[in-house]
Amino acid sequence: MRTVTTDTPLGTYLVRLADDNLVLGQRLGEYIAHAPELEEDLAIANTGLDHIGIARHLYGLAGRVEGDGRSEDELAMLRSEREFTNALLVEQPNTDFAFIMVRQFLFDAYQVPLWTLLSESANSELAGIAAKGAKEATYHLRRSSSWIVRLGDGTDESHRRVQAAVDGLWRYTGELLESDDVEAELVSSGLIAASSDLSAAWEGTVDAVLEEATLTRPADRFQLSGGRSGIHTEHLGLLLTELQWMQRSHPGLTW
């Protein structure tokens, strides 16, 4: 399997997490002014900014960890689609509100145990970022899961839409819990937790919320992956085109 690497396994791992958060933050940003209510618009913008904030911390740390010390902007704005290593789930384009909440929920259920375990990392900077991430993700999960329950156990229309979103996104969830060689070395030195160790917490959260929401857990079936090695769905390229346009058109631009 092709592996996109920076100079060090830790840098590679940090960029994966940062890419997840940057791409989801951008997706949520795209939705601003399209939410069904002003209040939801604000909440989604807040969530998106939390993700982008975490991405900035992680890119900053990755830049310091890897050999040639790329800046936050270089990592976020000057890598191509094949160099991005976010999970496929977060790049899936916005459709309706139920879809956006399900994508968020499936990701939040992964990030809460991720940050909780990483807050024990032997790398104190990563542990600090994770402690901040854990608080934010806990709130994100509370909000997204309450919407899953409200929509799932709501009207026939809301139930149908949220179930369709769960069914459609299920194939991208396995990738979140996959471990590979990049992780193995970091796990043995106490820097990170293996993604596969998050599956019990993820399953527990997802099963409990789906049940309360009267939703059906999709049958386990073929799972797509590839994001961690830079093989993406066709949607990421368009997202990056918009995200990176300013920096590509005016190289070196700063605020």
Binding site: E37, E39, L42, A43, N46, Y139, S146, R150
Partner: protein, 113 residues
């Protein structure tokens, strides 16, 4: 656009049209934020939400995102009953300055009273 607002005693409830023009019928909630421990919850504004749980969440995102608070209360706007007729309710107190505790100094150490 029309929202449900607190009804003063004796006032007829306003006709609130439903449908797309009324924010899809989400009720209005008044938001009270406690800025820090020891202070009272203070009214800061209102938000729309379908139920109490999401009202608290929307209040958090609307009114505390710059760390303005440590606790939030929400209450349905229609559950608030307001005073009316300020001339008879409050003006009688204006000429009774002897009721004001203005004749002694409050030490600075007392702080929030």
């Amino acid at each position: 656009m029309s929202y449900d607002v607190p009804i003063a005693p004796g006032e007829q409830p306003a006709e609130v049209p439903t449908g797309a023009a009324t924010s899809q019928g989400w009720p209005l909630w008044e938001v009270f934020v406690r800025a820090k421990r020891g202070l009272n919850h203070t009214h800061v504004g209102s938000i729309h939400a379908p139920d109490a749980q999401s009202a608290v969440q929307n209040a958090r995102d609307g009114y505390t995102r710059r760390a303005e608070g440590v606790s939030v209360w929400v209450v349905r706007s229609t559950e608030i009953h307001a005073s009316d007729d300020a001339s008879s309710m409050f003006e009688p107190f204006e000429d009774k300055p002897y009721r004001h505790p203005t004749f002694y100094e409050i030490p600075e150490e007392v702080g929030q009273l």
